[in-house]
């Protein structure tokens, strides 16, 4: 596991307390997990994602991510409807480790309450939370 100082937390995305990030694009959001979350998990071997069209409230479980000996649930940081999922993760789940904010994205949702972005953390606030 890396030291927090070795991890990346871009300020172009918003962070949730459960370590998901969301990147705003108009009324939609791209969602994934943070560099800290992937590092805690270790080598990701499987990602279970929702079906396009599924609807979630903020805080609902939208999938799971697995390493060899651990399973973590993924919590939707925003309410909305799934418009796309990253199907490349089916065969290359390691993208979550190597590029958590890019190729390792998980789903794209159409937000029903865009105001929820304001409830999420900036990268500075998230880093402060991690450092306790």
């Amino acid at each position: 596991m890396k030291d927090i100082s070795e991890l990346r937390f871009p300020d172009t995305v918003h962070y949730a307390t459960d370590h998901e990030w969301a990147k705003r694009e108009a009324d939609q959001a791209i969602v994934g997990i943070s560099d800290y979350a992937q590092d805690q998990l270790g080598d990701v071997v499987y990602v279970e994602l929702p079906k396009v069209g599924a609807r979630f409230e903020k805080g609902d479980v939208f999938g799971t991510v697995e390493s060899v000996k651990a399973v973590s649930e993924l919590f939707s940081p925003l309410s909305g409807e799934v418009v796309a999922v990253n199907t490349t993760l089916e065969n290359t789940p390691d993208l979550v480790n190597s590029d958590p904010y890019g190729e390792g994205w998980m789903m794209r949702i159409r937000c029903s309450q865009p105001a929820q972005f304001e409830e999420m953390m900036t990268s500075d606030a998230y880093l402060a939370m991690l450092k306790g």
Partner: protein, 487 residues
């Protein structure tokens, strides 16, 4: 180092089974047909023979003999797996289980032609009740987890009978790993509770969560830290006062035979693992047997069929128990495993069983005493049959529990249980059992002390371990990312 247990020797390679086959070979001489041919209709018949290899008998013998040499068993060396009780598996038990009258008995024999099997079942049930202080038993469950399922089904049936089902069950963080899944199969929602600072569950913790919608508690006693749940009488009282039931996971009974009777300290339902406490072999993962035992008021719920006694003293099987949870297996359960367990009980007798528990506890405490200055000991409470250390003192050297476990193999020992229980970060759970001698344990302890020294002087040696085994560390990530489950 002198007196090393492990060394390197000649180890033969062996391909996959189907790489050995040759069309036209056969490993058995088949009986010819002494009756006329009667071909099956074409629409049900496969077009050709099944796709499995054809080998000669010597091919089969070489293949499996070589494979077996790549395995480490209790007969090979010490197997200090915590909460698994890898004691010696007596050879006489195998002889008894191989008797034709047991092996070749059909389960649907008429009762008058299977009195021997039924008597063995009845006697084993009686003995297990006597050992645990419970009132009635069913041998049916096929393994420990299956025994837990039976117990949870009994809880479910009990509350159904009361007319008000309950939905939650309390499970402490030191309970066995299977408990939450067993409870969930019956629709119970596990409520996790933490153990106290001494590693045992406090009564007030239970009092705070026990309510009218909680079916009861699943307690492993001794728990997975090897500690006796000393507050169990009061915890049982709290659970019972709210109308709940106490389930005990008896996986660790090897610490308590002849010393504590679960039935006398408030337990209502429990299971045993015959493949742990009663010496039946693990067989590389099974079969085991997990009898479920209950107090009298839960007797009506036990699985069917049950062995009953006729007026003339003969035994029979009966399904006439209207409140039973039903049938758990295709026939009666793992009969040939019971034969071994019964042989064990008859070989040891009451004093022998108690001695087994005493020596198991002595061995574990001896290891704890000899290692406590070398490895971090998370709990000061005296242990029973197993002791738990952590890798806390090794982290400055970037050495983890996994590295210690892998290095132990190079020293000729099977690793302990690692990363369980979850309450201890980086835990090493060591259970020597009573069948290891002082010399063997001393060798194990010396190896552990050596490894701790290596961790400081040459951590890379540990990161690279094991180096004396046929294969080095395997890529489990690749195995899970791109599963290859058939050849």
């Amino acid at each position: 180092m002198k007196n090393e247990t492990a060394t390197s020797g000649l180890s033969l390679n062996e391909p996959l089974l189907w790489e050995r086959g040759r069309k036209g070979r056969c490993g058995v001489d088949l009986p010819g047909d002494d009756v006329p041919q009667s071909p099956l209709p074409e629409e049900v018949r496969a077009s050709g023979p099944p796709d499995i290899p054809d080998l000669a008998e010597i091919d089969v013998v070489r293949h499996y003999t070589r494979l077996s040499t790549w395995n480490f068993g209790v007969d090979t060396g010490m197997y200090p797996l915590g909460s698994c009780t890898m004691k010696y598996n007596p050879k006489t038990n195998e002889r008894q289980a191989g008797l034709a009258g047991f092996c070749n008995a059909h389960p649907l024999l008429p009762e008058n032609l299977s009195q021997g099997a039924l008597r063995l079942m009845a006697k084993l049930q009686t003995d297990l009740c006597e050992i645990t202080g419970m009132d009635a038993a069913s041998l049916q469950p096929a393994a420990g987890a299956h025994g837990e399922l039976a117990g949870m089904l009994i809880l479910h049936a009990y509350f159904a009978g009361k007319g008000k089902q309950r939905h939650k069950i309390i499970i402490p963080d030191t309970a066995h790993g299977t408990n939450p899944a067993s409870a969930a199969l019956c629709g119970f929602r596990p409520v996790a509770v933490p153990s106290g600072p001494d590693g045992i569950l406090l009564a007030e913790t239970v009092r705070d969560v026990m309510d009218e919608d909680t079916a009861g508690i699943m307690l492993t006693n001794p728990n997975t830290l090897g500690l006796f749940e000393a507050h169990i009488p009061e915890i049982s009282r709290i659970v019972h006062e709210k109308g709940g039931l106490v389930y005990a996971d008896g996986a660790n009974l090897n610490a308590l035979m002849g010393i504590v009777r679960m039935g006398c300290i408030g337990v209502d339902v429990m299971h045993l693992n015959l493949h742990k406490t009663f010496s039946t072999p693990h067989g590389g993962g099974g079969p085991g047997a997990g009898p479920v035992l209950v107090k009298k008021f839960l007797d009506p719920f036990l699985p069917v069929p049950r062995v009953i006694r006729n007026d003339d003293g003969s035994l029979a099987l009966s399904e006439d128990f209207p409140f039973s949870i039903g049938r758990l297996v295709g026939f009666f359960g793992h009969f040939l495993v019971w034969v071994r367990a019964y042989s064990y009980i008859r070989s040891l007798g009451p004093e022998g069983l108690k001695r087994a528990s005493q020596l198991a506890v002595l061995n574990a405490n001896y290891i704890r005493a000899r290692l406590k200055d070398t490895y971090h000991l998370p709990y000061e409470t005296p242990c029973l049959h197993e002791c738990v250390f952590s890798d806390k003192d090794l982290t400055p050297y970037k050495v983890s529990t996994l590295d210690v476990a892998k290095r132990l193999m190079d020293h000729g020992f099977h690793p302990p249980t690692i990363y369980f229980p979850l309450v201890v970060h980086g835990s090493l759970m060591i259970e020597p059992t009573e069948t290891e001698s002082k010399e063997e344990i001393d060798r194990f302890v010396d190896a552990m002390i050596n490894i701790a020294a290596e961790a400081k002087s040459n951590p890379d040696l540990l990161h690279a371990a094991p180096c004396r085994t046929r294969v080095t560390r395997l890529d489990e990530v690749e195995a899970a990312r791109r599963p290859c489950l058939v050849g």
